[in-house]
């Protein structure tokens, strides 16, 4: 049973003085912003579960990880006995708070599209996400265009804004769509071959400086790419064209790329696999494990809200049951997802200096009988199972 000590007035004062931007919020909700969280175990950046116990927080960031004995002043400390602290989960394939068609169909090369424009920070999806332990999501424009636009990365609760969702990054990876939905009858490209020819010329223009700024920065290795490939055969092409230019590449829609495992192992691309459902074949469910075993970075996706908040952890559990290493599966829903979204400097790991986005689980996050006990975003408790209490992760239900 977790219980929370009230922050002392002294600490409050310290918080106010120390806090720059988020200080006011901390003061406003002081009892929900502990100076330290004490848990039995925590998920380390390498995905294992270690028994370091105290996570100290400062200014919405993780300040230090201390052994249990080192806490003398117990005021302002949140205790969760028997619990496991995990970095806030990240769903890299989501349309949370972004409804409707997020792409224009008139042009097949449309790098100016920004997913952030369809983002509704007060949407109730964020509340559901928080309850499920998801603290960040990547929202992508629909990949029905060859160049579909820029992703947004959002937090599902925000200390700085006080609203449900807050923006972590509005210039996320540039999305490229490869697949039958990209080649159409009413505009170019109309075929796979045509699409590749068009892509080569677009990237050529970008290199020579005569394309949209986003494409140019991608071509010069300053922007990430996210490649949607509905067929395994497109993965190789996508990697050879866009993948070799972008700062970091992630490939999504890859439930069946067995034949490409060797080829992918040589690249630094992140493979985004999932969501996994109970209906899927053994072959599909084994893919994440096969890729991870080959040394490829895998991020797992939950596709909330099309699927429920359970979907991300369920995907991880199924991947593990079908051969994925547990530590790699935990990384796949935290740090690897952060890498794919281009936000791994801020979230995805419990490490000093990272944002204090934490989920307190009753047990291993991979176990389906583990429950979310509490969720912290930027060091502020936005959900507690005991009190069904929320703060800035509000939104109407």
């Amino acid at each position: 049973m977790p219980f929370l000590h009230r922050t002392s007035h002294m600490l409050l004062a310290v918080a106010v003085i120390a806090g720059a931007l988020s200080g006011a919020v901390l003061a406003q909700h002081s009892q929900h912003a502990p100076k330290a969280i004490v848990v039995d175990r925590y998920v380390t950046p390498d995905g294992t579960i270690s028994d370091k116990r105290i996570i100290t927080l400062s200014n919405g960031k993780i300040a230090a990880l201390l052994p249990h004995a080192e806490i003398a002043d117990k005021t302002g400390v949140a205790y969760y006995s028997g619990a496991v602290a995990c970095p806030g989960l990240i769903d890299v394939r989501s349309s949370m708070g972004a409804y409707g068609n997020t792409v224009e169909s008139a042009f097949s090369v449309d790098p100016s599209v920004s997913a952030i424009d369809s983002f509704d920070p007060d949407h109730r999806d964020f509340r559901r996400a928080v309850e499920s332990g998801i603290t960040a999501a990547l929202i992508a424009p629909s990949p029905t265009n060859l160049v579909a636009g820029a992703c947004a990365v959002v937090k599902t609760g925000g200390a700085s804004t006080g609203r449900a969702g807050s923006v972590l990054r509005d210039d996320g990876p540039l999305v490229f769509g490869f697949g039958p939905r990209t080649w159409r009858y009413d505009r170019a490209p109309t075929s796979r071959i045509g699409a590749m020819a068009m892509l080569r010329s677009v990237l050529g223009e970008a290199k020579s400086g005569s394309q949209h700024a986003r494409l140019q920065s991608l071509a010069s290795g300053k922007l990430d790419a996210m490649l949607y490939c509905s067929d395994a055969m497109d993965v190789g092409t996508a990697l050879r064209s866009v993948g070799k230019l972008a700062a970091h590449t992630s490939i999504i829609h890859t439930s069946d790329v067995y034949d490409l495992t060797e080829e992918l192992a040589g690249t630094k691309a992140t493979m985004i696999v999932g969501p996994y459902s109970f209906s899927m074949s053994q072959r599909t469910l084994s893919m994440a494990g096969v890729l991870a075993s080959a040394g490829i970075d895998v991020a797992l996706a939950g596709q909330m809200p099309t699927r429920g908040g359970h979907s991300l952890r369920q995907t991880a559990a199924l991947a593990v049951r079908y051969g994925m290493d547990s530590a790699k599966a935990r990384q796949a829903i935290t740090i690897n997802a952060a890498k794919a979204a281009g936000v791994s400097d801020r979230v995805g790991a419990i490490r000093p200096g990272m944002d204090a986005d934490l989920v307190i689980f009753s047990g291993d996050p991979l176990r389906m009988d583990s429950r979310v006990l509490a969720v912290y975003i930027d060091g502020i408790r936005v959900y507690s199972a005991d009190q069904h209490l929320t703060m800035s992760a509000g939104g109407q239900r």
């Binding site: 109970f278 053994q282 429920g308 991880a316 009753s362 291993d364």
Partner: protein
Amino acid sequence: MHLLAIKTRRFTSSLASGLLRRRCVSLIACSFVALNVAMAHGQLLERATVITNARIITGSGKVIEKGSIVIKGGRIEAVGAAAKAPFLSKKIAGAGKTVTPGLIDVWSALGRTGTAGDGDATSRAQDGFDRYARDDFREALRNGITTVYIGADGGAGVNGTGAVFQLAPGPGRSAGKVQKKDAALCVNFGSDQSPLSRLKTFAAIRKQFQSAVDYRTSLEDYEEDLKEYLEKLEERVKKEEGDKKDSKDAAKDEAPSDDEKPAPKPADEDDSDDDSDEEEKDDGDDDHHSLDYFFAGADNKTLPAGNGKGDAKNGKNGKDGDKKKDEDELKKPKKPAFSAVSEVVLKAIDHELPVRIEAHRSADILNALALADEFNLDIVIEGATEAYLVAVALADAEVSVILGQVGRSAVFEDTEFRRHSARNAERLTDAGVKWMISSGGRDPRASRFVGFNSQMAMPSAGTKSGLQWSWLTRLTGDASRFLSLSQQVGRVARGMEADLVIWSGDPGDPASIVERVFVGGKLAYIAPQLAGGGS
């Protein structure tokens, strides 16, 4: 053969018959002894299998931290810390492993082929079960599932009877067998319909139960009428015999006056009052008229002046005089046409079959409760998506529910799942409603993951002390009791069928793998990692 020998020999040599008979008897006795010895020998040859020093989760909530399980003759012969491996037994090292009963999915679609026709109560799930679906079964076994209940699936209506199947290897290449047929009567309220069609569906289902009741009443009436008719027939025969005797002495013209005497005439005299009733009955019988005619016709052959066709009409309209009337009175009662559908439905009304009603919306669940109340049925609600909204009514009626998939997004749903709540089980628990957890009866592949589903459904975290194994108990001991199979499966206990799963670690950890599965004492699954190394 022996008998034949006896007969022939007795025939040829009647003198030595007694001796021979004795010899033959001894021969038969000898062959029996030989057979018994062979059987006993076979049992001796069958080595017991022993899983040693494993953690055993019994399925009834208990955990034996270190114990052994002796499997022999397809059953669990001994279990516990004190259980000893018999001489010459096959041993499986269980140290560090966890043994559980095979998991039971109480509402599955595994191995189901096709669906029953809409509203055909005579369909049987076992007829549509593919016991050769080995790949699918292997996937289920790989996740620890050994028993599934499969309903007679169809559209809205009374869809037939469900059955329980065990994923048992053999005979031949089959991998599943019927463990219990006619396990329940399956009714679907067709919740994924417009309000009007759901209304019609409910009316149609109600009618089926009402027809079954009416069918029974007409059968009982028939029995009563038949008895009366036979009595009267006997009376008349006696009288006719008496008349014959009398006729020797008395004059012939007294006979007509005798005929007038038989008094009770139910049909004819009430005619004027109950015309409408009569007509309704006739309408109902019209469907089966050809059969009636068949029976009536056959019976009439034995009657002196019967007229099968149009009896009812004659009875009503034709007042052709005393003689005709007399014939009507002695008409054999019509046996109601056999109704296979009603026969099945009656089993439910007689509490021989529980009734499983798939209903998701709160209104449908309330309708189900009303149906159960009206016909005094033992019902269980399948699906029960909105059960949490009517939890009090369910608790009052002491009706339990079977929940399907817990993980589901209701955001884009406009179906029966639109008010899906992952907290359904929690709220039902609070209200005191008994619930079971299943894979949801629709997706054959989801049956594999009923364990995960149960973990998700649990109202409290699995780490809470004392509740750690409740997700597993629901799928084993609770589930077998629910299916009335608690003496066969669902527990690791002496005398139970040996349906056992050996897990590499904690069954609740997705990283644990199923190493071996025994079904009915036979090895039904072995993990590929172990298959090469022998055991």
